[in-house]
Amino acid sequence: MSIYFDNAATTPLAPEVKEELLRIFDRPPGNSSSIHSHGVNSSLIVEAARANVARILGCHPDEIFFTSGGTESNNWVFTGIAEDPSVPKHVVVSSIEHASILGPVNHLEKKGWKVTRLPVSSEGIVSPSTLDTVLSQTPAALVSVMTANNEIGSLQDISALSCVCRKHQTLFHTDATQAVGKIPLNLSEQMVDFLTFSAHKIHGPLGVGALFIRKGRDLPPLLLGGPQEANHRAGTVNNAAIAGLSVALTISSPTPSELTERLIEEILKTISRAQLNGPRMNRLPGNVHFSFPGFEGRKLLRELDRRGFIVSTGSACSAGMNIPSHVLLALGKSHEEALSSLRISLSRYNSRDEVDAFLAAFKDIIVKHP
């Protein structure tokens, strides 16, 4: 049985979530768009989940729209914005966004949109003053900066960035897929216009997420052909998965900091060539990311896998391809350093014993393969 340290890619299902999914699977069938009692009961599951999610995030239920996950939510934002002919054809994103942001952004660029990719510091932080300068020079339709980076765990100052956007009357979106359920987040205290998150990063089911759309803002639907989600997203609603998302969010909590700290401290102490990527402090709970110059991250991953430890060399989306992470390159890492990296992402279900077992195995690998 392996020890799973790739929670930034996806997480094991929480027992409470599994229980909720099974409870709903056992219920009488009903399409939540049907007006008979089965349909109404199915819709009730979704609406109860919506109300709960809104309560936890500090927004109104009308502002939560369920989707198939973070990728769909992110695509929806950019596709929706681009349909407005009155907006400036310019979007601003950080240079370390997830592929599901860069994909639609690159698509807009091919269609003639201007794209500004904000540089980041050596720790992966976007400067609000840099954003202010960009927006002062060229108005934009949308700014999108992720709350927490999926590879290096850097946390952005979303309050400051959204304030800058508000000053320039520019819409602000944040991909909070890695952050929701792990760091404090209250949409009633933020000037965020759109926010993305998904369930499978917080021990919920795969295939479900949500997009927050602040009242007063709107987006045309990405999926057409049905009235679901208040005419915002056609398609039979996955009520079980949505209920699972709601439970996952309710019981979510960050990885204990002492576990992450121990892992970082011990690696820095015992492996001289280790380079921590991302900030030392103010880091996404559970996220550990190192470069080990002289080693191939892919080979370290395989050896750890062989010894029963599941980690990653970068984002899951790029892990199958031997190309350096754009996030690490944006930090100023060389190709070699970027390809020598490992991401170890813990969850609240990991233990001190597991971390210690990993450290022992990892030190052994490094020593035996200098």
Binding site: S32, S33, I35, V40, E47, P61
Partner: protein
């Protein structure tokens, strides 16, 4: 008096939200629900009655929307 504005919400999401709101209220409390004319005006009262609640009154309001007064019978 509790009010719930469900204009623009399609069926049966509107019924579900109405039932959800009622589930948070005490038995005997009254809820005023606003829905669109047409199918919502028919479906929502039917769903509420099917679930055991008592429709006290319903009519078109000054905004041209359908207003339903329902007593929570949970």
């Amino acid at each position: 008096m509790n009010r719930l504005d469900l204009r623009g919400i399609p069926c049966p999401q509107n019924s579900a939200r109405a039932l959800l709101k009622l589930s948070t209220m005490d038995a005997g409390e009254i809820l005023i629900i606003i829905v669109d004319l047409g199918e919502p005006a028919q479906n929502v009262p039917e769903s509420l009655e099917f679930a055991g609640h008592e429709i006290l009154k319903q009519s078109k309001n000054s905004e041209g929307l359908w207003e339903i007064q329902v007593k929570n019978c949970d």
